[in-house]
Each structure stands twice: as structure tokens, then as C-alpha cells.
């Protein structure tokens, strides 16, 4: 029997009843707040869906495969934007995942205790930098460096691959991917570090007891155990990369095209919405932009749900292990 059950006896005083009423009002109030988030998400989805009707009716599924984006002739296709968003995010992951895991392993397993919290703090501080600042830095510092050093270097050693050919502007898919990588490193490394710290010490001790070296302990005891959680952290980073707008607009070149070369400009889904929405006057044009928003909403929502589920499952597993 819960300890509060005496309150529900017949002889409860007026004071207690009043107290109880306050309690339930508070409970319902917070419930409304909690539900309002859900309602908001549903409303956003509904609004996006209903306002993209015109474009959905006009282009149907062809919207997903059309490669032209021509506002003058009212031909709209989402494929180059989907390609740009997905490819730039994948490049970001390829760069960011190894670095983030390195940071997380160092911070959770190897670093002296004294260094641990200032270093984690610094990494998390990176997540607080506004994206437009990354964009400006990218445009004025990173892009010239890519143009003058990185791209000639990549071309000289990997130029036989189609990914590293073409004009060297600095601006383009590669720059977009690198700036995204820098922006998602804090997210991935912070979450991975938490997950690794959550690995029970008994695991490490067991591995050491078997005579494992430090690297083997990290490999067998920590990484294997934290696998699902790290995967979740990576998906959270991917979620951020997919939706990131401002910094990418400033360095990716904003050209709706599908090219194998990473030196060529590209365009992202959030980028085209931010760029063209305010001056779009024709109904169909607006509707097509909103449909891109709808697609992005669906993609990021699914990513985030998937990531949360993974992290949540892993946390529950640990709780089981610790008890």
C-alpha cells in the first residue's frame, strides 16, 4: 500500500482535500504541458502536409526523382536536395565519427582525472557556438584553406577517383561536409563519453583479470558493451547534420546538382527552404518548398526516434547489469 493512502480515508479534513486538489491540478497542468509538445509536432506535420498538397498533387512521387529545380518554368524536384543533404551528412559522419570516438575514449578511459572535466567542458562548449559563426569561419578561413591546400593535395594523391576531380573553388560538397563534421563532433563525443562511462567497472576489471592490455580492455569490455549507445550517439549527430542550415548554406555553393565530385557545389534541403522561401511568390513554388520541409521533417524525425530508442534500450540494459 502506498504511504499516502491514508489521505483517501473517509475522515480526510478540508485542508487535506484542498491539498489534494492542488496536487491534481498541478498534475493535470504539467500533463497538458507535456502533451502540448506532442500536439505541436502533430500540428507541424499536419500543416506541412496540408500546405504541400498543391505540389503533391502536381508532381506526385516524381517529386522525389526529378533532378530539375526551375522556379521560372515551375518544374520542381527534390532529388538534388535529398542527395546534397544525405551526402554532406555522410561525409560529416566519415570525418566526425573516428575523431569523436577518439575523444570519448580518451576522456572516459585514458585521460588523467584532472584533465577530464576541463576537456569535456571544452568539447561541449563547441556545441554552443552559433552555426552562423561556424559558417563565417568556414567561408573566410576554411574555404580558402580547402581551395589552396586540401583540394590540390587530395587531387594529387586521389585524383584518379571521380570524387576528387573537377574545379577547385574551395566552396562545395567537401566544405559542407567538413563544416558539418566540426559541428557534430561535440554531440557525438559527449554522448559517447557518457555511454562509455556508464559501462560497469566490473566489465573492465574482468577483462584486466584475463590479462587484457589497455587497448584490449577498451575493445572487448568498453566498446563492445557500449556499441548500441555509441550508435545512438552517431545517429543523434546525423540528426543534427541533416537539419543544419546556416553554416552549410555559407560554404556548400548552393547549386542543385548531383555530382560525384566532392569539389563541386551542392545544395541541401534545409538550405533551399531558408534561401528561397521568403521571396517565393507563386503558389506551386511555395508548396514545393514546403514539401521539401515535409520530407526533411519525416527523415529527421525517423532518425531521432531510432537514435533515442537505441540509447534508451542500452541504458535499460545497464540498469539491469548494475542491479
Amino acid at each position: 500500500m502506498p504511504p499516502s493512502s491514508f489521505l483517501f480515508g473517509k475522515k480526510r479534513s478540508k485542508r487535506i482535500r484542498k491539498f489534494l486538489a492542488g496536487d491534481s491540478i498541478f498534475k493535470n497542468l504539467t500533463l497538458i504541458f507535456a502533451l502540448s509538445v506532442l500536439a505541436l509536432a502533430l500540428l507541424i506535420f499536419y500543416e506541412l502536409y496540408s500546405r504541400s498538397q498543391l505540389s503533391i498533387n502536381e508532381f506526385g512521387l516524381g517529386f522525389l526523382t526529378e533532378i530539375k529545380w526551375d522556379p521560372v518554368h515551375q518544374i520542381f524536384g527534390a532529388l538534388p536536395f535529398i542527395f546534397g543533404t544525405v551526402t554532406s551528412s555522410i561525409i560529416a559522419l566519415i570525418i566526425a565519427v573516428p575523431i569523436s570516438l577518439g575523444i570519448a575514449i580518451y576522456l572516459s578511459e585514458l585521460s588523467p582525472r584532472r584533465l577530464r572535466s576541463p576537456l569535456s567542458f571544452m568539447v561541449e562548449l563547441l556545441a554552443a557556438v552559433p552555426s552562423v559563426v561556424y559558417g563565417l569561419w568556414g567561408l573566410y578561413v576554411m574555404v580558402p584553406w580547402i581551395r589552396d591546400s586540401l583540394e590540390p593535395f587530395l587531387e594529387s594523391i586521389l585524383g584518379f577517383l571521380p570524387f576528387f576531380q573537377g574545379p577547385k573553388f574551395g566552396i562545395g560538397m567537401l566544405a559542407g561536409g567538413i563544416i558539418l563534421a566540426i559541428m557534430i563532433i561535440p554531440t557525438i563525443s559527449a554522448v559517447s563519453r557518457e555511454v562509455m562511462l556508464a559501462v560497469p567497472d566490473t566489465q573492465r576489471e574482468a577483462a584486466f583479470a584475463l590479462g587484457a592490455t589497455r587497448w584490449e580492455v577498451i575493445k572487448i569490455a568498453v566498446l563492445k558493451y557500449a556499441k548500441t549507445g555509441i550508435f545512438g550517439a552517431i545517429l543523434l549527430g546525423l540528426g543534427r547534420a541533416l537539419g543544419e542550415t546556416m553554416a552549410v548554406i555559407m560554404v556548400i555553393g548552393n547549386r542543385p546538382q548531383i555530382s560525384l565530385s566532392l569539389f563541386e557545389p551542392a545544395y541541401t534541403m534545409s538550405g533551399v527552404i531558408a534561401s528561397e522561401y521568403i521571396e517565393a511568390t507563386q503558389e506551386l513554388y511555395l508548396s514545393a518548398l514546403i514539401e521539401i520541409g515535409l520530407l526533411l521533417f519525416i527523415i529527421t524525425l525517423m532518425m531521432n526516434i531510432f537514435a533515442r530508442l537505441l540509447v534508451w534500450r542500452m541504458m535499460r540494459m545497464f540498469r539491469g547489469a548494475k542491479e
Partner: protein
């Protein structure tokens, strides 16, 4: 609890309230208020600095009229006037008849804009000269080198490098792009067929950047680049820009506020008929060819706002616009906008007189 000076907390609060009420009362007593009229406008960002300047100057002359203008973009402005949220809207590209679904909108040209073709060619001494066809070919990707015979023919005195042209353009929808592509469509048939004109177009080549600052940044940073931007932006940031050939006088025209104003003078007859005429490639011999009006939109029949509108409010709106196209023009040049020529002001007057409330003209004098 007593405070040190001996006044109780309640007493102090009461005193503050009394003082506040007295101040408000005194304010109203000293300023016998005629009712304040608030006019709301929204739209294009290009004329925003000028309209904001007008709003503050006009408010000094007529303290009872407060004007708000939100630079949300032409699209947003048109949307808001259609939903009858704003009293006037600003737009760079005119609204077509078939798009006026909620009532006829009068276009009042309130100022002029021009687009310059900026470039970055290291080591170049002298000013680059271009004509419309060459610019179109560069942006179509048909001319890819700075020392292309077509460019060197226009610039015999310059030594142009054997380098690839790095083409840049706006990625965000903008009136600037509209003016530029309107010009290219007028002078190049190929451009008109393949690309066309609009606030965003399907660019055959080049890299897109956000806003005038974005394009300017790309041009300044990348050697051998070309880009287009608002004249004020290039001027204030000392970015070199090309002189453009006037097809009618065969002269290369430097973009200045005067040569931009001249562009309107080549189209006065067409403007009498419909003020929405494009003024690119002006036949006036001294005109800079890449210029355009930017417009204020007003409902021709003003009694469409229901309870939130009134004859008084419509009158205030028209008075403000009337002032803007007359005295307001004196503020243009300091902000790098071209003045409306006298003849255009006369057309504006005519247009403003045509606006009615319940079928009755509002401006009678």
C-alpha cells in the same frame, strides 16, 4: 517591517503608483492626443532602409502617424497584403494581374534599384567593360575564360588573363536576381529561352551565395571571379564593378545614381500605360541598363479591411506615400538610392489619385 526612513513598504508602493499615475496624466494633459494612427507595411528588403528612414522622418512631421515596415521579403509582403494584414506592401517584382486574387493592387514606384556586375581580376588596371550578350554568355557557361575574344574585343586596352571565370550568383530568392535575369532575358534570346527571369532561376553554371554580403564575399575572396549585386552594396564596400554597354548609344555607362535615374526616362510613355513596365536596357542614351523600380502595393479600393480599416486610415496611408514620392525622395541619395525622375513622380500622383474608398477618390486636392 519599517524601512530605515520610516516609510512602510505599502506606503512606498502607494507612492510609486501615485507618481506613475501623475506622470501619465500629466503626459496626456500636456499632449492633447489626437488618436494615433498606426500604418503597417511589409515586404521587400531592398527598399527597407529607405522606407524606415521615411517612417521616422514622417513621424517627426506628423507625430500622430506611426509607420511600421517589416522587411520580410517581397513574397511575404504580397502574402500579407492579400491576407489584409498590412496597409501597404513592398515588392521588387511587379504582381501580375492574374495573381491579384483578392482585389486590384495599385503599384506605386517608390524608388529605383540597380545591379552592378562586380569582378575580381588580380593585377588588372583599369575598369572592365562588358555588354549584355557577353554577360549572358558568361552566365550560360559559353564563355569560360577571361581572355575570351568577346571580352578582349570590348576591352582592347586591358590585358586579360588566361584564367577560368569563377561565376557566382545569389542563392536566396531576391529582387536583385530578378533585375539581373530580367536584363539578361531582354538582351539575350538564348538566356530568355533557356533560363528566363525570376527571383530564383535554374542557373546553368556558378556557385550560389546568400545575400549581397555572401556574393561580395565570394567575389572578394576568389581571384578571377564575377558576381552581381546591388549598386549600393558594391559602392559602399569598394568592390570594382564593370561599365555596361548601352545598346542604343553604344556607350559604356558607369553605374551611378544619375545614370540609374535616366533608365526610367527611357520608358515614360510605357509607364503612362502600365507602371509595371520593366526598365532594363533603357533606350535613353545615358541610361545604365540594369535598373529597376521597386514598388509599394496598395489596394485600389481601400474599403477592404473591414473593421480594422477606415477612411481616415486609408487617407493617412495615401498621405504618407504621397509624401514619400515627393519630399521623401530627398533622402534617397544619402542612402544610395536613385531619385525618381519628375515625370515618374507625376505618374505616381495620378496613380494615388485613382485610389478610392467606397468608390470615392481619397485624394481630392
Amino acid at each position: 517591517m519599517k524601512s530605515k526612513s520610516g516609510i512602510s513598504k505599502t506606503g512606498a508602493i502607494a507612492l510609486i503608483i501615485i507618481i506613475a499615475v501623475a506622470i501619465v496624466a500629466a503626459y496626456y494633459a500636456l499632449n492633447p492626443q489626437t488618436q494615433t494612427i498606426t500604418l503597417n507595411g511589409a515586404g521587400a528588403t531592398f527598399p527597407e532602409p529607405l522606407i524606415k528612414k521615411w517612417a521616422s522622418e514622417y513621424n517627426k512631421l506628423n507625430p500622430s502617424v506611426v509607420i511600421n515596415y517589416q522587411g520580410v521579403g517581397s513574397g511575404g509582403g504580397i502574402q500579407q497584403i492579400k491576407e489584409k494584414i498590412v496597409d501597404f506592401a513592398g515588392t521588387d517584382a511587379p504582381v501580375k494581374d492574374e495573381e491579384m486574387t483578392t482585389g486590384e493592387l495599385v503599384h506605386i514606384p517608390e524608388t529605383m534599384g540597380a545591379v552592378v556586375v562586380a569582378y575580381n581580376i588580380p593585377g588588372l588596371t583599369g575598369t572592365l567593360k562588358l555588354d549584355g550578350d557577353t554577360i549572358a554568355k558568361i552566365y550560360l557557361g559559353n564563355i569560360t575564360k577571361w581572355n575570351d575574344p568577346k571580352i578582349t574585343a570590348l576591352n582592347p586596352e586591358l590585358s586579360l588573363p588566361d584564367e577560368d571565370i569563377f561565376v557566382t550568383h545569389r542563392s536566396d530568392g531576391s529582387g536583385t536576381t530578378y533585375i539581373f535575369t530580367d536584363y539578361l532575358s531582354t538582351v539575350s534570346e538564348e538566356w530568355a529561352n533557356e533560363v528566363g527571369k525570376g527571383k530564383s532561376v535554374d542557373w546553368p553554371v556558378g556557385v550560389g551565395a546568400q545575400g549581397n554580403p555572401g556574393v561580395a564575399g565570394l567575389v572578394q575572396q576568389n581571384p578571377y571571379s564575377i558576381g552581381y549585386m546591388e549598386i549600393a552594396y558594391a559602392y559602399l564596400n569598394n568592390i570594382p564593378y564593370a561599365w555596361i554597354k548601352n545598346e542604343f548609344s553604344e556607350e559604356f555607362i558607369e553605374p551611378t545614381l544619375e545614370s540609374v535615374s535616366k533608365a526610367a526616362e527611357g520608358f515614360l510613355e510605357d509607364m503612362e500605360e502600365d507602371v509595371r513596365v520593366s526598365i532594363v536596357n533603357s533606350p535613353d542614351p545615358e541610361a545604365y541598363p540594369i535598373a529597376s523600380f521597386t514598388y509599394i502595393l496598395l489596394y485600389k479600393e481601400q474599403n477592404v479591411y473591414g473593421a480594422s480599416g477606415s477612411l481616415e486610415k486609408s487617407k493617412a496611408t495615401l498621405n504618407f506615400i504621397w509624401w514619400a514620392v515627393h519630399e521623401g525622395q530627398d533622402y534617397s541619395e544619402a542612402l544610395q538610392y536613385a531619385k525618381l525622375p519628375q515625370e515618374v513622380v507625376a505618374i505616381c500622383e495620378e496613380l494615388l489619385r485613382s485610389i478610392t474608398y467606397n468608390g470615392q477618390p481619397i485624394i481630392t486636392s
